[in-house]
Structure formats: C-alpha cells, structure tokens
Symmetry: D2
Subunit: 296 residues, 4 copies
Amino acid sequence: MKTTIGFIGQGAMGSRMAARLVAAGHDLVVFDRLREATRPLEERGATLAVSAKQLAAGVDVVFSSVTDDAALEQVMLRSDGALAGARPGTIVIDMSTVSPRMSRRLHEAARAKGVAVLDAPVSGSTPQAEQGQLVIFVGGEEAVYQKCQPLLAVLGSKTLYMGPGGSGTTMKLCANTLLGLGVQALAEAFALGEKGGLSRERLAQVLSETAVVSPSQKSKLENARKNEYPAAFPLRLMFKDFGLIAETAMELSVPMPATAAAVQVAAAEHARQLAAHTDEDFSVVVRAMERLAGVA
Amino acid sequence: MKTTIGFIGQGAMGSRMAARLVAAGHDLVVFDRLREATRPLEERGATLAVSAKQLAAGVDVVFSSVTDDAALEQVMLRSDGALAGARPGTIVIDMSTVSPRMSRRLHEAARAKGVAVLDAPVSGSTPQAEQGQLVIFVGGEEAVYQKCQPLLAVLGSKTLYMGPGGSGTTMKLCANTLLGLGVQALAEAFALGEKGGLSRERLAQVLSETAVVSPSQKSKLENARKNEYPAAFPLRLMFKDFGLIAETAMELSVPMPATAAAVQVAAAEHARQLAAHTDEDFSVVVRAMERLAGVA
Amino acid sequence: MKTTIGFIGQGAMGSRMAARLVAAGHDLVVFDRLREATRPLEERGATLAVSAKQLAAGVDVVFSSVTDDAALEQVMLRSDGALAGARPGTIVIDMSTVSPRMSRRLHEAARAKGVAVLDAPVSGSTPQAEQGQLVIFVGGEEAVYQKCQPLLAVLGSKTLYMGPGGSGTTMKLCANTLLGLGVQALAEAFALGEKGGLSRERLAQVLSETAVVSPSQKSKLENARKNEYPAAFPLRLMFKDFGLIAETAMELSVPMPATAAAVQVAAAEHARQLAAHTDEDFSVVVRAMERLAGVA
Amino acid sequence: MKTTIGFIGQGAMGSRMAARLVAAGHDLVVFDRLREATRPLEERGATLAVSAKQLAAGVDVVFSSVTDDAALEQVMLRSDGALAGARPGTIVIDMSTVSPRMSRRLHEAARAKGVAVLDAPVSGSTPQAEQGQLVIFVGGEEAVYQKCQPLLAVLGSKTLYMGPGGSGTTMKLCANTLLGLGVQALAEAFALGEKGGLSRERLAQVLSETAVVSPSQKSKLENARKNEYPAAFPLRLMFKDFGLIAETAMELSVPMPATAAAVQVAAAEHARQLAAHTDEDFSVVVRAMERLAGVA
C-alpha cells in the first residue's frame, strides 16, 4: 500500500520540498493559510485541503514547513489544526525552524493522540543548499526516523538523526550559531584588514585559500569582494534564527557572549534594512562592520 | 654566488624554520638571546653569532622569529641589534607575529639604512600546519618578495604576497581573528547543544559533516569530543595574538564586538590556566563555555 | 460612593501592595492562583474571590501583580480571567513586570470591552524601595491615570506618567537596563581593581564617595565589600527582567551590546545558582567576575 | 623653609592645576614640550625651565600632567627627563592618566635614585569637576602621601589614598570603567525606550528622578534630551582611557565583557568623529545607539 502524504505550508522552503515529493512520484494533499500559495502545486496535480485538520485526516504522513512558533501552533495545535484531524499512527514531520521548546510542545501534544512526530529542520543556508543540496537534522523516536528515512532522502542530500524530540531543532540552532557568528567573524576580519591597508579584493582571495574559513564563509567572500549582497539567505531570516538562538539560550541559562555580540550587529542592520526597505543577504554585516570602522 | 643566511630567534617556530633551511642545504649563522637555544642548530653545522648585530654584519638575508614586539625591538633596533650591523642591500625577513605598528617601525628604520624588510608571519595554527604545511603572509616591496620567494618556498607550503610593509602581519591578525572567534563559536554551539540535550559525541560527529565548520574548527572537534585539550596552539599564544588584534583594532578605531567577546572568554581561561599552572590548547574554551553553562 | 477594589496576585510584590491598600482603609477582594497565598490578607479582612473573573465582576478597580506574561494572560485574558468578568467602566491597574508587547495586548483586549487599563510596574529594586519607597511608572490614558492617582499614591512614593499603554512597562525595562548593567559595571571595576592590587574594602569605600556610582549601585557596595550577597533583588528575578529586555530589544531591532554582555554573565551565574540551589542577590555578579578574573 | 615646586605639562589639566598652585601663593618653575604652552603661566610669574631635567634639578616637588605613557616616559625617563635632574629626596607627583604599568615603571626608576613618587590622577570628568571640584586618587608610600597632602588639597576637593605605587592610576581606571560603561548604559536605555515609544524629553526627565542613575550619568541627561553633545569630556579622551582599561585588563587577564562591548561602540564613534572632524562629548554614544536602533 502506498503512503499518502500531506504538506502544510507552501512558503519558500515548503514549496521546494513539496515539489521534490511530487517529482519523486508522490501524490500530495496540500494546505497553506494563504489560498494563493498552493496554486503552483495544485497545477502539478496536488489536492487542496480546506484546513490542516482536514488534510491530516486523510493522509499517513503530514509534512509541515511554516514560518515560526506561532504559525506552527496555529496549523498544528488549534481546533482546526493537524492534530485535531490526525488518527493514531499518523506521522508528522515538521521541517520548520522553530524553537526546541515549541518543537517539544508539538511532540507532547501529538503523543497524547498516538501521533508520532519528527522535528526535521533543513540546514538550508549552506553553499551546497544553494546548489540544491540540503542537510536535514532529525529529532524524534529512532524507529520513526528509520521508517521515514526513504521519504526524507527525497528531500535532503543528507539526513542526520540527532536524538529524541527537539534534537533536530536544537542541532539546527547550533549549526546556525556557527553560520551567523562565522559571517560576523568574516565581517570583523574584513574591517580590520581593510582599515589596516589590505584591499577587499586581496582579502577575499587570500581568505578563500586559508584553513580558517568554512565552506559557508567561503560562499560569502564573493559578496564581500564585490560589496554586493543579493539575498540568498536574507538577513531578516538570519535575524529570526538569532532570535530563536538567543531565546533558547536564555531559557537554558547558556551564556553565548560572542553570539550575543553578533546578534546586536544583526539587530542594527535589521533596523537599517527595515527603514531602507531593502532585503539583502545576511552577509551584509560585512558592509555594516566596514561602515562602523569607517572604511566603506 | 651563494646567498648567506642568518637566523635570529630559535624558539618553537624559529627552530622549525631554521631546520628547514639547513635541510635545504643552506649554511646558517644563528643567534638567540638564550645561549642554549641555538645548540641543536650548531650541532647541525650552523655558526653562532654573539649578537644580532654581528650576525647581520655577515649575511645577505637575516631571518627573525621572536616572541613579541619588545623582543623584535631588542634584536633589531637596539645598538647591538641587526640593523646596527646590516649593510645596505641586506634583506630582513621577519617571521614573528608582532603588531603591524611594530612591523612598520622596523620597515621604516631599515629603509633609512638601505635595508629591505619583509614582514612574513606564518599562519601556523592550521591543521595543515600541524602536518607540516604552513602559509606565509608577506608584506613589503613586491620586488623584494619576488627575490626572496625561493627562500620562502623552503619554509612554507604557500606564500601569499599581501602588499606594502605591515600587510603580512595585518593579514595574520585577520586570519587569527577567524581562527580564535571560530573556536569560540564552536564553544558556544557545544554549550547550547549539550544543554539542549545533544551528546558531545554526536555534536562533534555531525558538525564535522556540515558546511559551517572550517578545516581549523574541524581539527578541534576531536578535542571537544574527548574533552581533552592537549596544546597544539596553546591558549596563552592565542591570547597573545588576541592582544595584538585588540590593540591594533583600538589603534585603528575598528569595532570588533564578537572578537572582543571572545577575547574576554580567553582572558578568563588564561587567568584560570595561570592559576592552575596548566598549558592547554586554545580550543579549551569549549570546556570553559560548557562550565559556564553548567554542562561540564 | 466608595471605590471597590480587587487585587489579583499575592506574591512578594502583590501582597506588599495589597497590604498598603488595606492599611489605607480600603476593603479588598483578593484572588491568587495559589489558594494559600491570600490567607494573610483574608485574616486582615479581605474577601476571597474564587476566580479572577468573579473578582472583576464585583469591583470598580482591579489591581494585578503577577509573575510573567503567561500568568498575566491567564488571570486576565482566559475565559475565567478578569476581562471576562469586568463591566464597561472598570479600571485594570496591572503592576506586573511583563513585556510591553503583553502589556499592549492587555490594553487592546480591555478596550474592546470598554475597560481601561494602566500598566503600572513598580521600580522596586532601588535602595529606597528596600526602605519602603517605590517608584511607579504608568502607561495608559492620561485621564485614567489622573483618576487613579490617589490610589497609586497609596502604593508608591512617586508615580510617573509615561504615556500611552505599554509606556509604563517600557520605562521599567529602561530603568532595569540601568540597574542590571550598572551592577555589572561595578563587578568589572571590582575585578580590575582587585587584580590590580586594590583591596575590596578600599574599593567599596572609595567608590561610595565618587560621582560615578548611582544610589542603586551604592546600595550594593556593602555586599561587595563583605563578599556576601543576601537576596534583596534575587539574581533569578534580574535574569527574568533581562529576558524581557532582550526579547523586547529583539522585537524592536534595538542593538544593546553592553546589556547583552551583562546578560551572558547573568546567564552563567543563573546556571550556577540553579545547580547549587542557592538564591542570592543579583549583585552576586561581582563575585562571578572576581572568580573569572581569578581574584575570588 | 618653603617648598619649591615645578610643573611639567601645561595641557588642559596641567594648566588648570598649575594655576591653582600659583593662586595659592606658590612660586612655580614650569616646563612643557611645546614652547607656547607655558606662556600663560609665565605671565603670572612662573619661571621657565629649558628641560624637565633642569626643572627637576631646582625644585623639591615635581608635578607632572601629560597626555599618555609615551609622553610620561619622555619627560621622566629619558636623558633630559626629570629623573635625570632630580636629587635624592625630591618628590614626583604624577597627575597624568597613564597605565598602571607605566606608573609602576616610574615608581621603580625613581626609587633607584632615591626619589619618591605619587601617582595621583585626577577624576576630572565628574559633574563636580566641571564645577571646579576634583577627586584625586593617590598611590605611593603613605608617608609621602601624608607629607604632600597639603599640596594636593590645593588641587583637589578630595584626595583619596589608595595604596602602593600604581594604586592611584588603577583606581582611576576603575572609576572610568564606571563612567564610560555608565554612559553606554544610558545610551542603550534611551535607544530601547525611544524605539518603544517614549519621548527623549520624558526619558531624560524621569531618569533624573530615579535611583539607577549616578550624578555622572545625570549630568549627561541634558545632552541626551537636547541631542547636542558639546565636549565637556571629549569622546577621544574617553576612548583613550578605554584603551588603557582594555590594555590593563589584558595584561592582568581580567575579563570585562560589558566594558569591552562599550569600547566597541566608542571605537565606531571615534572612527566617525575622526572622519567628520568633529569633537563631541563622550555622551554622544547616546546618539550613536539611537542611530543604530533607527530612532535618531
């Protein structure tokens, strides 16, 4: 018997994921809070559900990919949410980047209904991701993970099982700490080097040849070199993730001083972008630090 | 005619460099402020000079590799220093990690005597370095760099010309900003992940498979996994380099907020190591952050 | 006709406030989620309500003083909360320290029912407060503030009108930024001074005579001098307020770099206190910094 | 017999101090590296010395007030410096704000010549100072302090003995940590409050009535209210003192995370002022934070 699949949330990430499932031959039931968002998938044969609840009632596996904690609460936990429709045995695979706290709330609410959950956020801001390669960090029961592995393999080039419920989102926050702070480190090195007399051009070239730069950082050197920051992973999304990191660190009483310093720079740049109505890549902090140092 | 070479400073880095020159067939004149330090090289045939001044008087190229600004001032600029002995046309290649300010002072003092200088610090804390591969960043006149390139090629697996005098040391500080802040980022990600329920083992394994980790960071994951920090690049040296970075940033009015936050953690860990009479690798900040978070 | 008054929440702050109202001759209806908490006031003649809703149904003015956003949502906005019972014309005066966002939610929900709200948190961690003097920052409609001024005057030695709904809680966060960062500044000055050779005793004495220390900071010098930190304003509450400050700053995209640095120290100290099952004053960060510097 | 007095350094602080000594009836011998700087005092009857050495040779007490470590080294330790001229029994009272390290070097060099030193920097950036009241922190032998107390009383409204040599400058750095971080705290509170809807006017007014603001901070509220920052204690001098604080903290391995964060803001503002050729008060960081938050 074939597994029936539903997909809740058709934003930038959700629509990409859903398209891969369709491309792999799966029939999909789809739902999004915005009526328009599901059109492209409907044109490719997906069935529209009128609510997350109705969607969940008719499928074996419910994928979700939504913006934040509040959106996940709405599509999952409210009276018209997926858990209200899901039957015992249904599996929910949530690919949203939400707080581990929210993720655990979902795991618990589902458990009470006999529904299993995997928190499976996508580490999608890596250079590989931009070329279509994606890493998925997975939290939940290992047996459920094993069962869903073939489906996840359609969506990511690598799936990494991290442990019990909430481990996937926790790992995502760890990875994004390194991502965000890594680009802030690049920004500070550029500001120091340029004000010290090195050219932006030469700095970008030389750093790409050193062992102190990660593939993620390397993928941003071209932006820094050109002083142009077209949005691949927009600052506003990095800032949102920094918010989850900061909130989770506070909840767990984990000091993260360098990350906190990077968050303040992102806050200032976010304020600036909101005022200027621009939407640039999060590596724009390189320019922000150059400006503060008086070299841009 | 063969180029005659002198080498001032036989510490950890200097002795390694001098040994490579000897191995490549060069005759060396050596000097160190500590009489004992030159013995190994003398046993391999090097000639001892009684002062930096005497050394410089008898060679075409003077290498130096000393601890800090004060040591470089002593062996180069004092009345018995190398510049006092050097003839016009002599070339000084300083491989020390010193401040760009000190490096430029050396360039200027030498210029007045018709002596050319290259500031050529070694980026020696990379994983490659530990396997014998070293990157050398070079500042000074390009023609002098071209002339010395064959000699530098004996010492480093890669030499990168950065620009005028002081550019080599400036680039070294940029690279070490990324190195030091990179390991602090790792430390904060571990503290967050572990307190969030992930195992140290799994974190180390998974991070090594992501694009957000540089080769330098990757080389420290094994320390974090084992919670053992044998000194490859000791914290006290990283702290010394952080001092140069902070001092240079202040001199140039360059804000470096995340680096400054990392420096504070290194300061606390340095205080602890001094009190405990230990000498661990700079990646020990992973354990420092785990302790502050209450997970170690 | 006499104004009838209800008071929701009988924690440390609420019970103190309610007692002042009783002492001033007011009859009180009281409610707390913990049955036991209202006993002392009942013994002094207060009437017990079975729910916040019932309480609100019978009084003209509803005071509240609860722990956090979640508690305020529960006693105000749920189906058995105060707004469900309040009639048009009722006034709610919330003295809790909650987020401006939560405060504005309360204002809006109340407005829809014809109920007026004042957000009126107490700045109670000042030295004056410890001697019974309290400043109240008030947000809401000015006419409502004027009407309630006589009641507020019973509770605080000073009431300061700040502007529209949410202005009181916003001002409270500004004041606590200065309070928390002020004590962190003290901690860093002590660590520097002591490691530089000054005695704790002399530092405390001399700082109390300078113009760079506020009354709030001055009130903590005795703790630092004795290296004893009995809880007046416990670290866990300062950490909670730091959480509100950080969350509000993120929501508004306001960079607060020095505050963020102080928050990390508080997080580490909070982790330590949780592990050690201690509950010390927030000025214990002086000892935390001394320890990190290796002088305690 | 009357004590003869010399004064080295006639900058902003030195000329003010020297004028007080003249006003108190003392005959002064003066020296400054800039020939013009001593004119005003010569017109009031002071005798000019041709060098610090000559000055020291003819007086019992040598005051000095110079810009920084390098200037102090020049006027004290070089071959034409004061120590070269001073006889055993001479007393040097250095009122410069220099590093404790430099201060101790002076104490040691003087001791070898039988000359006693007091490090006696002036805490001159307090509101009182602006009205002519000054606190002097003194380090050195207590007997020497007692002997010089009457002279110091002419210069400061309060003199506080701190301990052995270097204690005065160390205390000055502690006080300026509180001063500088205190104004940064104010800046962050303003940015948060204004972006949260409070008016600059009301914030300034209300903060002046709270216990969380020091006299120093209070004296800057008027600048913040008007958004005008005429230099009383210019940012460039605060930045210089932040440099001494940071350097001393590094030397002693003392983590100062919130101070370090404040230093980064001062660095950015210093870069901006250098580029704009302005010279504003250090409280201009209030405007800097408002701008970063997008409210100025």
